[in-house]
C-alpha cells in the first residue's frame, strides 16, 4: 500500500519542489473519505487534502440545528449486511462492520456530532491518508505529454507547499451559501450564521427565504417561539414523499405545513425573490416588490401577502459550488444547465466537461441526478464514489471492473439475490445498474455491479470488459408518472399486485433491460429524458412489492424465469434426477439444468415427499 506522496523528479512532475501523488482528493468529508477508502484498499498513491483539522468539518456547522435528516435505521429484521445498507443512510462503505452509523446512535435522526465522530473514526481506523489543515489553492494544469491526460495538475497550499497530481478529485461539497441578487438581502441573516436559540425569536415575526429542508429546519426549531413564520420560495414546496427525491422537503422537518394548512398564522408562499427587495423601516423589515425588476405595482393590491413587516428575515436558500480553488483565469468550472447551475458540469464518468483528469465526487457531482436520485447525499454518493473509483482503476491502472463470471444458469439466482439485497442500485436507482455481459455464445456471463447506466454504450471503454454478445441490465425504477410534486402518491390505485401488470408498478421495483447488442451512443441520445435506458429487445418488470422484497415463488421468481427462458430461447427449469435420467435415456439431448447438475453426478434426488411431481407431458 502506498498512500504517501513523493518528491517527483522534474521529468515526471515538472516540479522538483512538488510533492507528487497520483490521486489528489480535495475534501475529507464523507465523499472524500469514501473515495480515499477505495484508493487505500487498492494500494494507490493518493492523498486527501482538507483545509480544516478534522474530517467532515462541514458537519461542525451544518445542519445548524444539529439534527441529521438521513435515516439511521438500526433494525431491518434481516441479517444481510448489504441489504441493511438500504436503510442506513449515514454510513460509509467499508469492510469494517464496526464502522456503521447504526452503532453510533440509537436515534432515527442522529445529532450531527455523531456523524463527526463517525467520520473521524472512519478516517483513523481505516488509516485513510488525509492531510489536514491544508487549504489547496491555485489549482491549474501544466502540460505534461507523457502523462495519461497530457497534463498534470499543480497547486499550492496556504504555506506555499507545491503539489503535483496526475488526477484530481474534488470532493469539496457545496459549501458557499446561495445568496440571491435581491436588494436588501444583507438585511437577512444567513442560515450559516443565524442564531439557533429559539429564545432569540421569542414573539417575533419571521420571514424565511427558501422552502427547502434548511428553511423548514429553521422554521421547525422556531415556530414554537415566534408570532408567525412565513416562508417564501420560487415554486411550490416539493415533498420528498411525493417526489421520491430525498433532497426535497422531508417529513422530519415539515411541521410548519401543519400550522400553515390549519391557519395557525404561519404561512407558505411562492414568489420570485429576484422581483422583490427587503427594506428596513425602523426595526422592522419589509418585503416589497422591486419596481425596477417587477411589472406589478403592489399598491394595486391591498391584500398583498407580505404587507405586514417582519422582525427577522432569514436566508436559507441552499449552497452552491465553491470554485475559488481554481487558479485565477483558469475558469475550469463550467456550470450545469438550468436547475443544476449551482453544480459543476460533469460527464457521466464524473469528469469535468472542461478538463481531463479532473473528477468530482460527492455532492459536487449531483448535477448528474439532481432531483432524480440520491447522488447528492451520503447514501447515494458512497456508491458513486465506488463507481468513480472503478472507472479510475480501469482508466489509469488497467484494472478491469470487478465482474463475477457465471454460467448463465446461475444468472437467475444472481439477479434474485441482487434485486433483494443490492443497496447501491437501490439507493442510486435509475443511475447505477447491474450489467450482465454475455459471452458470444450466450452461455456464460460476466456480472458487473453498479455500472453508470448513462455510460452503458461505452461499457468496454470504461470497464475494460468487452461485450461480445448481449447485455442484460438490472435497474431499480419508480413508475414513470408516479413521482412528482403535484402527484397524489396516496391515490387508491397507487400500487399494483399482479405480475402481469408489473410494468404499471409505481413504487421502486426491479426492471430488466435485455439488448442483443450493446446500445449505441445514438440509441442513448435518442431516448427520452424520462427513460432510464433506450428501448431494449426484451423488457421485464418485477411487480412492485409492499415489502420491497421480491421472493414470491409465483409472482416474482416464476415470471423472471419465463422472461429469461424467452430471452435465451432455452428451458431453464430444474429437474429431479429421475426426470433427467429419463430424458437422457429417451432424448437426443438434455435441458440445461440436467447437463449442469445431473450429468455431472450432482443431481437433485429429492426427499420422497418432494418428488411427487408428474413428469410433465411437456418434457
Amino acid at each position: 500500500m502506498n498512500s504517501g506522496g513523493s518528491r517527483q523528479p522534474t521529468s515526471s512532475s515538472g516540479c522538483e519542489a512538488c510533492v507528487h501523488h497520483d490521486y489528489c482528493v480535495v475534501g475529507a468529508g464523507p465523499s472524500g473519505l469514501q473515495l480515499g477508502y477505495f484508493l487505500q484498499m487498492s494500494g494507490r498513491n493518493y492523498v486527501i487534502f482538507d483545509r480544516s483539522s478534522k474530517a467532515g468539518s462541514f458537519y461542525e456547522l451544518y445542519p445548524r440545528h444539529r439534527k441529521l435528516i438521513s435515516i439511521n435505521k438500526r433494525h431491518t429484521g434481516r441479517k444481510n449486511a448489504e441489504y441493511n445498507m438500504r436503510h442506513d443512510w449515514n454510513s460509509l462503505l467499508s469492510h469494517d462492520d464496526s464502522l456503521r452509523m447504526t452503532r453510533y446512535s440509537r436515534q432515527m435522526f442522529p445529532d450531527a456530532q455523531v456523524l463527526l465522530d463517525y467520520l473521524d473514526d472512519f478516517q483513523r481506523k481505516l488509516n485513510i491518508s488525509v492531510q489536514f489543515n491544508t487549504n489547496i489553492q491555485n489549482l491549474r494544469t501544466e502540460s505534461a505529454p507523457a502523462m495519461a491526460d497530457g497534463h498534470i495538475y499543480r497547486m499550492e497550499d496556504q504555506r506555499g507547499q507545491q503539489y503535483s497530481c496526475r488526477t484530481i478529485i474534488l470532493a469539496t461539497g457545496m459549501s458557499v451559501p446561495n445568496i440571491p441578487t435581491m436588494k436588501g438581502i444583507d438585511l437577512a441573516r444567513g442560515y450559516e450564521s443565524v442564531s439557533v436559540d429559539p429564545e432569540d425569536f421569542e414573539g417575533k415575526a419571521v420571514l424565511i427565504l427558501g422552502r427547502g429542508n434548511a428553511a423548514f429546519e429553521v422554521a421547525d426549531s422556531l415556530y414554537g417561539s415566534t408570532s408567525l413564520i412565513h416562508l417564501i420560495g420560487r415554486s411550490r414546496v416539493r415533498l420528498a414523499w411525493s417526489t421520491h427525491y430525498v433532497g426535497d422537503l422531508r417529513a422530519v422537518n415539515n411541521g410548519l405545513l401543519d400550522t400553515y394548512q390549519l391557519k395557525s398564522l404561519d404561512g407558505l408562499a411562492e414568489s420570485s425573490l429576484e422581483e422583490m427587495k427587503l427594506e428596513a423601516k425602523g426595526n422592522k423589515i419589509h418585503l416589497v416588490l422591486d419596481p425596477e425588476r417587477s411589472d406589478t405595482d403592489e399598491d394595486t393590491f391591498d391584500n398583498y401577502a407580505f404587507r405586514e413587516p417582519y422582525d427577522v428575515v432569514i436566508r436559507a436558500l441552499g449552497f452552491t459550488f465553491d470554485d475559488s480553488i481554481f487558479a485565477n483565469g483558469t475558469s475550469a468550472v463550467s456550470r450545469g444547465k438550468a436547475l443544476t447551475k449551482k453544480y459543476p458540469a460533469i460527464n457521466h464518468n464524473y469528469e469535468s466537461v472542461d478538463t481531463r483528469g479532473l473528477f468530482y465526487a460527492g455532492t459536487a457531482s449531483h448535477s448528474l441526478d439532481f432531483r432524480k436520485s440520491a447522488g447528492g447525499f451520503i447514501h447515494g454518493f458512497r456508491y458513486t464514489a465506488r463507481t468513480l473509483h472503478r472507472l479510475l482503476e480501469w482508466r489509469y491502472e488497467q484494472v478491469q471492473w470487478p465482474a463475477l463470471s457465471l454460467p448463465r444458469l446461475d444468472l437467475f439466482n444472481t439477479i434474485l439475490r441482487r434485486i433483494n439485497e443490492a443497496s447501491g442500485t437501490y439507493q442510486m436507482f435509475q443511475v447505477l445498474g447491474d450489467v450482465a455481459v454475455f459471452s458470444k455464445d450466450g452461455q456464460t456471463v460476466r456480472y458487473l455491479e453498479e455500472f453508470p447506466l448513462q455510460l452503458l454504450h461505452q461499457l468496454p471503454e470504461h470497464s475494460g470488459i468487452p461485450t461480445p454478445g448481449a447485455v442484460l441490465v438490472v435497474v431499480m425504477e419508480y413508475g414513470r408518472n408516479f413521482s412528482g410534486a403535484d402527484k397524489d402518491t396516496f391515490r387508491e390505485d397507487r400500487a399494483k399486485g399482479e405480475p402481469s401488470e408489473a410494468d404499471l408498478s409505481n413504487f421502486l421495483h426491479p426492471v430488466l433491460y435485455f439488448y442483443k447488442t450493446l446500445p449505441s451512443g445514438m440509441d442513448m441520445s435518442k431516448k427520452s429524458s424520462k427513460d432510464t435506458l433506450p428501448q431494449p429487445d426484451y423488457l421485464h418488470h418485477f411487480v412492485e412489492d409492499f415489502h420491497a422484497f421480491w421472493d414470491a415463488s409465483h409472482s416474482h421468481i416464476l415470471p423472471l424465469r419465463r422472461f429469461l427462458e424467452n430471452v435465451y430461447e432455452a428451458d431453464q427449469r430444474e429437474f429431479f434426477s429421475a426426470s433427467c435420467f429419463q430424458i437422457a435415456m429417451t432424448m437426443g439431448n438434455s435441458p440445461e439444468s440436467c447437463q449442469h447438475r445431473y450429468l455431472r453426478g450432482m443431481g437433485l434426488v429429492g426427499a420422497d415427499d418432494a418428488t411427487n411431481f408428474p413428469l410433465s407431458s411437456r418434457l
Binding site: 441479517k79 444481510n80 449486511a81 463475477l404 454460467p407 446461475d410 439466482n413 390505485d493 400500487a495 399486485g497 405480475p499 402481469s500 401488470e501 428501448q535 426484451y538 423488457l539 421485464h540 409492499f546 415463488s553 409465483h554 421468481i557 415470471p559 419465463r562 427462458e565 424467452n566 435465451y568 430461447e569 432455452a570 428451458d571 430444474e574 429431479f576 434426477s577 429421475a578 426426470s579 433427467c580 435420467f581 429419463q582 437422457a584 435415456m585 429417451t586 437426443g588 435441458p591 440445461e592 447438475r597 450429468l599 455431472r600 453426478g601 450432482m602 443431481g603 437433485l604 434426488v605 429429492g606 426427499a607 415427499d609 418432494a610 411431481f613 408428474p614 410433465s616 407431458s617 411437456r618
Partner: protein
C-alpha cells in the same frame, strides 16, 4: 396463483365426485403400456383414452364422470404423456393448441394379431364439443348401431331414416367396398357416435333409383351427407380419397371442430380478450418446474433435522471451520429452489447421522442471503454449493455427489475414514477389503481400493494421494505399506504399482486392477477407476449410476428384462454377463434394466421400439442420439439362451464398429421456453392489460397496499354470456343426472352379473403380466 393444483372450473358439485373417480381410470405411462391394454381388450371392449392438459381440467373431470357412468361397457384410460399417443390419429396436433385429446380405440372389433400388425386398434379422434352433454351423448351412441347397408337392412326404412345426427350415404357397389378398405374404415370408425352411415349398394336397382332421387348423379363410388340444417350435400367424385372424404365430411359431422368451440376455454370465456389475458396469466404463472413446485408445496412443512445443522454467519464461520475435524457446509440461497430442496435433504442427513451413527456437529449451513458478505468472501457464486472442510488441510474440497440425504450421509462417514489409510499389516488389508477396517464401512460404499507401490515416495504415490483428496468422498482408499506389497500383489495377481479395487456387492467381477506399470498413470485414469469400483461390472442402469456410466463416453448396451419373470431374467442376465466377461466389448458399457409393466425400463424401451420381445437388447449412443435394437431370431430356443448370445455378439461388434444403421434416432429436444412470458414491450404498445385498476384477473382485487379486499386465489370464475350460460348449465345438469342415473342402474342387482364378464373393469394396473415375450 398457487402452484400445480387441481383446477376447479365449472361445476363445483362435480369436483369432489371427479376426485373420487380419479382412481377408477388407469393412467397409462408409455406407448408399450397402451399396447398392453389394447391387447387385453382385443375382441372384447372398446377403449376411450384421454390426454388432458393437466389433472383437474374441465375435460379431465368430464371424462371421469362419463367413465364413471359407462365403465361397465367401455374401458377408459388417461395419459399425461403425449408420447404415449404417438401414431394415433392427429395426435401430433394436440400439443399445439388443444386443451385435451380424446380417442376411441375400437379394440372390440379386432383381434390381437390385427393390433400387432397395425400397432394399435382402429381408432378415431373425438372431434365434438368437450361438454359433459356432448361427450356423454357420444359415448352413449358408440354402443348403438350406426352402420347400415341397403338393401340388406331394408331399403325403404333406411332411406326414410330420420336422425338428429347427420346421415352419410355411401354410394358404392360391393366390389368397390371390398377394394376400398381404408376409406370404408374411415367411414366406419371416424363417424361412429357422430353420424349414421348407410352403404348404398349401387348394383341394386331400387337403391340406385332412390339415390338418383336424392340427387346423386354419379355412378359411384360417392358420398352424400344429409343434415337437419343443410339438407343433402354430395362430395366431388374426385375427393374419393381418405383425406378428401375427411375434408368433405368434417364440416357437416363435426361443425364445431376447428371453430374454437371444441375447447372448453372458449366456451367458458366468450370475451376473447379476457380469455387471452387469463390464458396468458395462467400459462406464465402456473408452475411447471418440478423442483420449484415441490419446494412450494412443502414450504409449510418443517424441515426435519435442521436443528442439527447450525447456521453459520461471517462472525462464527471461520471459528467453526478451524475447530472442526470435519465440517461439511452447505452454502445455499433461499430464493433458489434447488438449494431449498437440498436443504431439506441436508437436515435429513443430519438426522440419519445422529440416529444411525451418533455423529453430530459434522454438518453446517450458510444462508448466503443472510451471510452475503461471507459467501462473497468465500467466492460462492453457485447455489447450492457444498464444501468439505477438514482440519489441518490447506483448502476445502467441493462435494460433488448427488444432492441427496443418503449420499451426504455416506460422504460424511466416508470422510471420517480419513482416506487414504496406511495399511501396514496383511490382516489390516484383508479387513479393509472386507469393509471392516478401520471401522465398518460396508454400508457406506461397496468397494475398497488399494494402492500398491514399492516406493512410497514416488510421483505415483503423490498422484494417488492427491486423487484421494477428492475421491475420499466416494469410497474407501488405502495405501499398502511397501513391506507387505509383495503379499498383496501375489494374492490379487496384481502388478506393482497398481490400484486394486474390490467390490463386495459384485458377484461377477469383484476384483478390478488398474495397471500402473504402463499406460495411463494420470490422476484422471485413477479417478475413473476408483469411481468405477463402486459400480457393478454389469450394473443395473438407474438414475444414480447413469451419470458415471455416461461419463465414460461409451455407447451403452442395455439388456431389458422382465423383472417379474425371474427365470428368464436370470438366464438372460447370465448370458449377458458372459458376453461382458468375454473382454470383447470394452468399448461399450454393458448394463441392464428391468422392463416389467409399469417400470421406467418399459417406458424407456417403448421410446426405442414399438414392438419388442423381452428380453431385448438395445445399444444407445447418447451423444449421437442413436438407438440400435437387436432383432433376435424368431425361431430361437429362448429357454436356453434368451438373448441369443452368438448372434447378439456379432451384431454388437457391427454396431460398435459403426457399421449398423440405427433403429431409431432419438428426438432432439428443443428445450426452448416451456411457456410464454409477459412481453411488457408488447403490452405497452398494444395496451393489452388495459384493465380497470386493481382488478384481479378473476375479478377479485388483489391484496395489495391499496385494498383490504381479500385475495381470491381460487379457481377461475369465468364469466358466461348470461343466455348461453343458462343453456349450457341446463344441458350439463341434465347430462349429469342422466349419467348418475345410468350409474345407479348399473349398481342394481344385475350389476354383479355384468361385472362378472371376464376382463371387465381391468385396468393397466391390474392387468396380468405378459410374461416371456411381449409381442407388440
Amino acid at each position: 396463483m398457487s402452484g400445480v393444483q387441481l383446477q376447479c372450473v365449472g361445476c363445483s358439485d362435480s369436483h369432489l365426485q371427479s376426485l373420487l373417480l380419479l382412481h377408477e381410470v388407469p393412467i397409462v405411462q408409455s406407448r408399450l403400456e397402451l399396447q398392453e391394454l389394447e391387447l387385453s381388450l382385443a375382441g372384447r371392449r372398446d377403449l376411450l383414452i384421454i390426454h388432458p392438459q393437466a389433472v383437474g381440467t374441465p375435460e379431465h373431470r368430464i371424462f371421469l364422470e362419463v367413465a364413471h357412468a359407462y365403465q361397465d361397457r367401455i374401458s377408459f384410460a388417461l395419459t399425461m404423456d403425449l408420447r404415449t399417443l404417438v401414431g394415433l390419429q392427429d395426435s401430433e396436433a394436440i400439443a399445439a393448441d388443444s386443451t385435451y385429446g380424446l380417442w376411441v380405440m375400437f379394440c372390440s372389433q379386432v383381434n390381437k394379431d390385427d393390433i400387432m400388425e397395425d400397432g394399435y386398434c382402429p381408432h378415431t379422434m373425438y372431434r365434438g364439443r368437450p361438454t359433459l352433454y356432448d361427450i356423454a351423448e357420444f359415448v352413449k351412441k358408440l354402443g348403438e348401431k350406426s352402420v347400415f347397408h341397403a338393401p340388406e337392412d331394408g331399403t325403404n326404412s333406411l332411406f326414410g331414416l330420420t336422425s338428429v345426427d347427420p346421415i352419410v350415404y355411401v354410394y358404392i357397389n360391393s366390389e368397390e367396398e371390398q377394394e376400398n378398405t381404408e376409406i370404408v374404415n374411415v367411414l366406419r370408425y371416424d363417424l361412429q357416435g357422430a353420424a349414421k352411415v348407410i352403404f348404398v349398394n349401387m348394383e341394386d336397382a331400387e337403391c340406385q333409383s332412390i339415390a338418383r332421387q336424392q340427387g346423386f348423379k354419379g355412378e359411384g363410388p360417392g358420398i352424400g351427407v344429409e343434415t337437419l340444417d343443410e339438407g343433402m350435400k354430395f362430395s366431388d367424385p374426385k375427393e374419393w380419397t381418405v383425406s378428401g372424404l375427411r375434408k368433405f365430411l368434417l364440416p357437416y359431422v363435426f361443425p364445431d371442430w376447428g371453430s374454437g368451440k371444441s375447447s372448453t376455454s372458449s366456451l367458458a370465456t366468450p370475451d376473447s380478450i379476457k380469455k387471452s389475458i387469463d390464458s396468458l396469466i395462467d400459462q406464465v404463472e402456473t408452475q411447471d418446474d418440478q423442483v420449484a413446485s415441490a419446494v412450494y408445496r412443502l414450504r409449510q412443512k418443517e424441515m426435519a433435522g435442521l436443528e442439527l445443522v447450525p447456521e453459520l454467519l461471517k462472525d462464527n464461520f471461520y471459528k467453526n471451520v478451524r475447530r472442526s475435524a470435519l465440517l461439511i457446509v452447505l452454502f445455499y440461497e433461499p430464493f433458489d429452489h434447488v438449494s431449498m430442496a437440498f436443504l431439506r435433504d441436508f437436515g435429513l442427513a443430519a438426522q440419519i447421522l445422529a440416529k444411525n451413527f451418533s455423529t453430530v456437529d459434522i454438518l453446517a449451513r450458510v444462508n448466503c442471503f443472510d451471510a452475503t458478505d461471507l459467501c462473497s468472501a468465500e467466492n460462492v457464486t453457485t447455489y447450492p454449493t457444498t464444501r468439505i472442510y477438514q482440519q489441518n488441510t490447506r483448502s476445502h474440497e467441493v462435494y460433488r455427489g448427488p444432492l441427496d440425504a443418503l449420499a451426504v450421509t455416506k460422504t460424511a462417514k466416508l470422510m471420517q475414514l480419513n482416506s487414504p489409510k496406511q495399511l501396514t499389516r496383511e490382516e489390516e488389508v484383508n479387513k479393509f477389503i472386507e469393509g471392516h477396517h478401520p471401522t465398518d464401512f460396508t454400508k457406506l460404499t461397496p468397494s475398497s481400493v488399494l494402492f500398491l507401490a514399492r516406493d512410497s515416495t514416488s510421483d505415483l504415490t503423490a498422484v494417488f494421494k492427491e486423487v484421494s483428496r477428492s475421491m475420499a468422498q466416494v469410497t474407501a482408499l488405502a495405501v499398502v505399506h511397501s513391506s507387505i506389497v509383495h503379499k498383496i500383489e501375489e494374492k490379487y495377481e496384481a502388478p506393482v504399482p497398481s490400484l486394486v479395487a474390490y467390490n463386495r456387492e459384485d458377484k461377477v467381477k469383484p476384483v478390478r486392477i488398474l495397471d500402473l506399470t504402463q499406460g495411463d498413470k494420470t490422476a484422471g485414469s485413477m479417478t475413473s477407476f476408483i469411481r468405477a469400483s463402486t459400480i457393478a461390472f454389469v450394473p443395473e442402469l438407474d438414475e444414480k449410476n447413469f451419470p458415471h456410466l455416461y461419463a465414460r463416453h461409451q455407447p451403452m448396451t442395455i439388456l431389458f428384462v422382465d423383472g417379474s419373470d425371474v427365470k428368464t431374467k436370470e438366464a438372460a442376465l447370465a448370458s449377458f454377463t458372459s458376453l461382458a466377461m468375454s473382454n470383447q466389448f470394452s468399448a461399450t458399457v454393458l448394463c441392464w434394466m428391468d422392463a416389467q409393466v409399469k417400470s421406467l425400463g418399459l417406458q424407456i424401451l417403448s421410446e426405442y421400439t414399438w414392438t419388442a420381445q423381452i428380453p431385448m437388447v438395445s445399444v444407445v449412443k447418447h451423444r449421437h442420439g442413436q438407438v440400435f435394437n437387436f432383432k433376435p431370431d424368431p425361431l430361437n430356443d429362448e429357454q436356453k439362451d434368451p438373448i441369443q448370445s452368438d448372434k447378439l455378439s456379432s451384431w454388437l461388434l457391427k454396431v460398435l464398429s459403426g457399421k449398423a444403421i440405427p433403429s431409431k434416432i432419438l428426438e432432439q429436444g428443443k428445450w426452448g421456453p416451456p411457456g410464454p412470458y409477459y412481453n411488457f414491450l408488447e403490452f405497452q404498445q398494444t395496451n393489452t392489460f388495459n384493465k380497470p385498476p386493481g382488478i384481479h384477473k378473476d375479478g377479485a382485487a388483489p391484496m395489495t397496499e391499496t385494498t383490504n379486499t381479500s385475495f381470491d386465489d381460487g379457481g377461475s370464475t369465468a364469466s358466461f354470456d348470461e343466455g348461453e350460460e343458462e343453456e349450457e348449465d341446463l344441458m350439463e345438469s341434465e347430462a349429469r343426472s342422466m349419467l348418475l342415473e345410468l350409474h345407479n342402474q348399473h349398481k342394481s342387482p344385475q350389476e354383479p352379473k355384468l361385472q362378472a364378464t371376464a376382463g371387465d373393469g381391468m385396468s393397466v394396473t391390474d392387468a396380468p403380466p405378459q410374461h416371456g415375450h411381449t409381442e407388440l
